[in-house]
Amino acid sequence: MEWMIIANEPGKTYLMQGNEAIARGALEAGIRFAAAYPGSPSSEILAMLGHVAEKADIYAEWSTNETCALEACLGASFAKVRSLCIMKQNGVLTVGDALHSASLSGVRGGLVLVVADDPSAHSSTNEFDSRHQARAAAVPMLEPVNMQEAKDMVKWGYELSEQLQQLVMVRTVTRINHGRSSVTLGELPQEKPSPAVIGEWDRMVAINWFKDAQIAKLAQAQEIFEDSPFNWYKGPEDPDMIIVTCGTGWLYSSEAVESLGLKDTVGILKIGTTWPLPEKFIVKHLVKTKKVLVVEEVDPFLEQNIANIIAYHPELNIELSGRQGQKAIPRNGELNPDIVLNALTNLTGKTFARPETVVIPQEEAVALPPRELTFCAGCPHRASFFLLKQTLRIHEGQGVVMGDIGCYTMGGQRAGHFLYGFLCCMGGGINAAEGLGNLSRFGFDQPVVALAGDSTFFHSCLPGLVNAKYHDSNMLFVILDNSATAMTGFQPHPGIGLTAMGKAAEPVSIQKVVEAIGCQVTVADPFDIDGTTNTVYNLIKQPGLKVLILKQECATLAVRKREKPRVWVDQDLCRGDDCGCGRFCSRVWGCPGNIWDYEAGKAKIDEVVCVGCGVCATLCPAGAIKMEGGKADE
C-alpha cells in the first residue's frame, strides 16, 4: 500500500500497518535519506521507502550492514539532510560503536533511528531489549503504543533531534510493526531542502571532549519530556494502584482494567518517552498511590528505572511489581492481554468471569501435527546441509560445523540433519572457526567448517575472512550463495545487482572478493550431491584455509523465473516399503514436496508444493522419481 505513504491527503484516516505509519511519519518530516539492513519485524519500512523513492524525491538504500546504514545517515546529517535509519534489535547491537560515538558527536540534520524489537524472538535468535542501548549510549528514546503514535513520534523525532542536535531512537515491537490500525495523515512537505554546504569549521567529531554536551542534551531531553503529549495519566485521582506502561503494554493494560471493571480504582500512567524518563511527571502521579504495576515488553527496563526514581524520592512509598517485582509478570517472553489480566487479578484480588471454555469432543477434534521450522521445497540449503553432513560422516574425522544467521540457521534442526554445533551472531561462524582452526598447533585435528549465506558474507564475514586468511587457519569456509536475503523477504544485497529503489547496479562478485583476499575458491552446485560431496571431501582433507561457494538460487525466487519441470513418482518403479531405502525421500531427504502415499504404500510428489529442483530424483535408489519438461533461466 505504498500509495498511502505518499498520499497528499492531510486529515484523511487510513488503516495502516505500523511499518507504513513509520515510513509515512518520516516522509511527513521531510526526510531525503533512508538506510537500513533488513530484519524482521522492521524490513517493510525501507522496502516501501525504496519503492516510493522517486516519487517522494528521497534516496533509500539497503545497506550492507547496520553500521553502514547508521553511518551513512550520519553522513547525510552532516549536510543537514534529515535521514531515517532502520534496523531490528540485533542490528542495534551490531551498530553499538557507531551509536555510542554518534551520540558524542551529535547530529546536524535530524536523524531518527527506528529499532524494531522482537519480543519472544519469533524471528530472531534473541529478544534483546534495545532500550538498554539507548540508555547506555545516552540517546533519547520514544516508544509508541499504536500506529498513529508511531507515525507522530517519528515525525516529532526530527524536531527533537534537531533541537537537541542529537540522534533520536524510536523503539517498536513486532505487534506495532506488523499490526494495523487507523492512522490520520498529516501534511507532506511541498519542498524538500537541499543538502547544506559543509563549512571548513563545521564538525561532527566523536571524542570524549563532548561528553558534557552529551549529558546536557539528555538533561534537555528530559525537560522536554516532562511536558510531552506522549505521556499521560488516565484514572482516578486517588487510585489503589497505578499501572505504568509503554508500547503494546498500554493496550493490554487498558483492556485488562476495562475487563475487570477497575476504572475507579486503577489508573494508567502511559509513558511514550522511555529514555530519559520524565522524572517529575512520574513522581507527580505515583505519589497518589501505594501500588505500582509496570507492564512492558521484554526486560524490566521501565520498572528498574522507576525503582531508581523511587530511591531518590522519599515521598514515594510504593510496592513495585512487574517483570521483576513480585514476579507479577513472567520475566521472559512476549506480553499478551491474558498475562496482564492475570497479573492484575493476582494483585487486586479481583476475579474475572472468563467466557466458558468449550471442550471439543476428542472424536471431533482435529489434531494439528507439531511442525518444525524447515527449508522450503526445493531449497538449495537442504541439499547443502545434506551433502555437508554426509561428507563429514564419510570423512570420519568428526567435523565441527560453525553455523551463522540466515535461513540456514534452521539447518541446526532436523531440516539440516542437526549439522552445526555452534551458533553465535551474524558473522560469528567464520570467526569462531578461525579460532578453532588455529588450535591445530595443539593437536586439534577435527575438520572445522564455517557457514555463511551470501547476504551474511557481505554483512559481517569480510574481516573474519581476512583474519582467517592472514593466520592461515585450518578451516573450510562455505558460502551458501542462494543469491537472496531470503529469510527477511528477498531484499537485494550487494551481490544481486539491484538497489532498494529498483535500479540496476553492478553486482559485487563474492568469488572475486574472496580471490582478492588471496583465498583459493571452489564453486560447486549443491544440487550435484555426489559431485559436490567429493569436492567437499577433498577440500576438508587439505590443510589451511579453503573457501567453497555453494551456488544455487533460492527456490522461491527461481520458481518465479522459470517454467517449472514436472517431478513425479512412477509408482510402478517405486518399491515402497520393500525397497530397503526406508522411505528415504520423504523421511531422510525430507523435502516438503516428497510425501508418502499411504493408500498405495509408495512414494509420491506433492506437485503443488514441488518446485521441480529434481534433486530427489537423483537420490531415489529405484530411479522411480522422474523429471520432465521445464526450462532453464528466462
Binding site: 554426509q390 570423512h395 526406508g582 535408489p621
Partner: protein
C-alpha cells in the same frame, strides 16, 4: 536379520569393516569415499541386505564352506582343497605381480565362456584401486599386478545384477569371496541365484588410503609406476627410480578391519591364487571345487598356464603362515568381543579350538 543400524554399531563403528564393498549401493544409506565406508544417515530398515552380506557379521562359516565346497577334503589350516600347485604363465603379461596366473585364469574364463562378465580391479595411477566389470580380454591387462590399497569392489555385484549377468566371475580378496558366498547363503528364496565362479586372492592385509598420501609426502612429484613386495620389504618404483620403503612404515597403514581376518588364502573361493614365496615368478594355486578344477584344467590345456608339483616344505610354510594369521585374527576378535563387539565367528567352536591347538606346534 538385523539392518543398517546394527551394521553401523557392530561393524562400522567397531572398525571391524573389511571394506569388501558388498553392502554398498543396495540403499541410499551406506556411502563410501576412498577407504571410508559409513552409514551417512540413520536407517530404519529392520532387515538389511547390508547386514546379511557382511563378512564381519555373524555367520555359520563352516556350514557355508560345506555348502559351496562340498567335495574338497577339509583342511583346518588353509581351508578345503583338492590340490596345491606351483603355477605360472609361460608367456607373461605386462605388469604382472608373480606368475601371471590370475590374468590367464580370467582370460580362460572369457575365451571358454565360463563367465560372460568378470569383476576385476585395475588402477589408472598404479596405486588407486578401481574395480570394474569386464567382458573383454583386452581389458585384462588393466587389472594385472597387485593393489595394496583396500577397495570396496564388491559394490559392482549390484551393477552385474542390474546388467542381468547370467554367468559371473569374481576376482577378489578373501573377505570379498566371503561376502559373495554369504550373499547367496542368505539369499531370499524369491531372488534368483547367480552362477558365479570365484578366483580368490591370498591376502595378508590391505592398506588404508593414507598410504597414498604418505608416498606423495615421501616422494613428492614422482609418478608411481609399480608397487611390489619382492622377498622382504616394500618396493616402490617411480619415474625417478626404485625406492625401498621399510615394512615397519608400511605396517602403520594396515587397515584396522584387517586385524580381525581369519582367512589368508580365500578359503571359500573355487580356486585360490597367491605368490609362491620360495621362487620369484611363480604362483601358488589351491583348487577347492570342481568349478575351480575345470577352470584350471582348461587354462592348462590352452597352454596359458604351466604347473609343477607343490613342494611339501613350502606347503608347510604356507600353512604355518595361514595359522599365524588365524591366531592374530582370533586374538583381535576375542579382544573386540571382550569390549562388547558382537563376534562374527563362533570363537569357541571346535574348529577354532583346534586352530589354537595346532598353532602351538606350528607358529614360531
Amino acid at each position: 536379520m538385523p539392518g543398517g543400524m546394527e551394521l553401523k554399531n557392530e561393524v562400522l563403528a567397531s572398525s571391524t569393516c573389511a571394506l569388501c564393498g558388498a553392502c554398498l549401493d543396495w540403499c541410499p544409506y551406506i556411502a563410501n569415499i576412498e577407504d571410508h565406508l559409513v552409514l551417512r544417515f540413520d536407517c530404519n530398515v529392520p532387515d538389511g541386505r547390508c547386514y546379511a552380506v557382511c563378512p564381519r557379521t555373524f555367520a555359520d562359516w563352516q556350514a557355508i564352506s560345506k555348502k559351496y565346497l562340498p567335495d574338497a577334503p577339509e583342511n583346518i589350516e588353509i581351508g578345503p582343497y583338492f590340490k596345491a600347485y606351483k603355477v605360472k604363465a609361460p608367456i607373461g603379461i605386462e605388469g604382472q605381480q608373480d606368475g601371471g596366473t590370475v590374468s590367464h585364469l580370467v582370460k580362460t574364463l572369457m575365451e571358454d565362456q565360463l563367465a560372460e562378465t568378470v569383476l576385476l580391479t585395475g588402477s589408472d595411477d598404479h596405486i588407486t584401486p578401481e574395480p570394474f566389470l569386464s567382458s573383454e580380454i583386452s581389458e585384462i591387462k588393466k587389472a594385472a599386478g597387485s593393489r595394496f590399497l583396500a577397495s570396496p569392489g564388491m559394490r559392482k555385484l549390484i551393477e552385474a545384477q542390474a546388467r542381468n549377468v547370467k554367468k559371473f566371475a569374481v576376482v577378489g580378496r578373501p573377505c570379498q569371496i566371503q561376502a559373495l558366498r554369504k550373499l547367496d547363503y542368505n539369499r531370499k528364496p524369491d531372488t534368483p541365484a547367480m552362477d558365479v565362479i570365484s578366483i580368490g586372492l591370498f591376502c595378508m592385509w590391505s592398506l588404508g588410503w593414507d598410504f597414498k598420501n604418505y608416498l606423495q609426502r615421501e616422494f613428492p612429484g614422482e609418478e608411481i609406476l609399480s608397487i611390489a613386495i619382492p622377498q622382504h620389504g616394500f618396493e616402490v618404483t617411480t619415474d625417478k627410480g626404485i625406492h625401498e620403503v621399510p615394512f615397519e612404515e608400511v605396517k602403520k597403514f594396515i587397515r584396522k578391519g584387517c586385524d580381525y581376518c581369519l582367512d589368508m588364502t580365500s578359503e571359500l573361493a573355487d580356486i585360490s591364487v597367491g605368490a609362491f614365496e620360495a621362487e620369484k615368478g611363480w604362483n601358488t594355486v589351491l583348487i577347492r571345487s570342481k568349478k575351480g578344477q575345470e577352470l584350471f584344467d582348461k587354462s592348462v590345456s590352452r597352454g596359458f598356464l604351466i604347473f609343477e608339483e607343490y613342494p611339501e616344505a613350502e606347503l608347510e610354510r604356507l600353512k604355518g603362515a595361514s595359522i599365524g594369521k588365524k591366531m592374530r585374527g582370533l586374538s583381535a576378535a576375542q579382544e573386540a568381543f571382550d569390549r562388547g563387539v558382537k563376534p562374527f565367528v563362533d570363537l569357541n567352536s571346535e574348529m577354532y579350538t583346534n586352530v589354537k591347538k595346532l598353532a602351538e606346534g606350528k607358529v614360531e
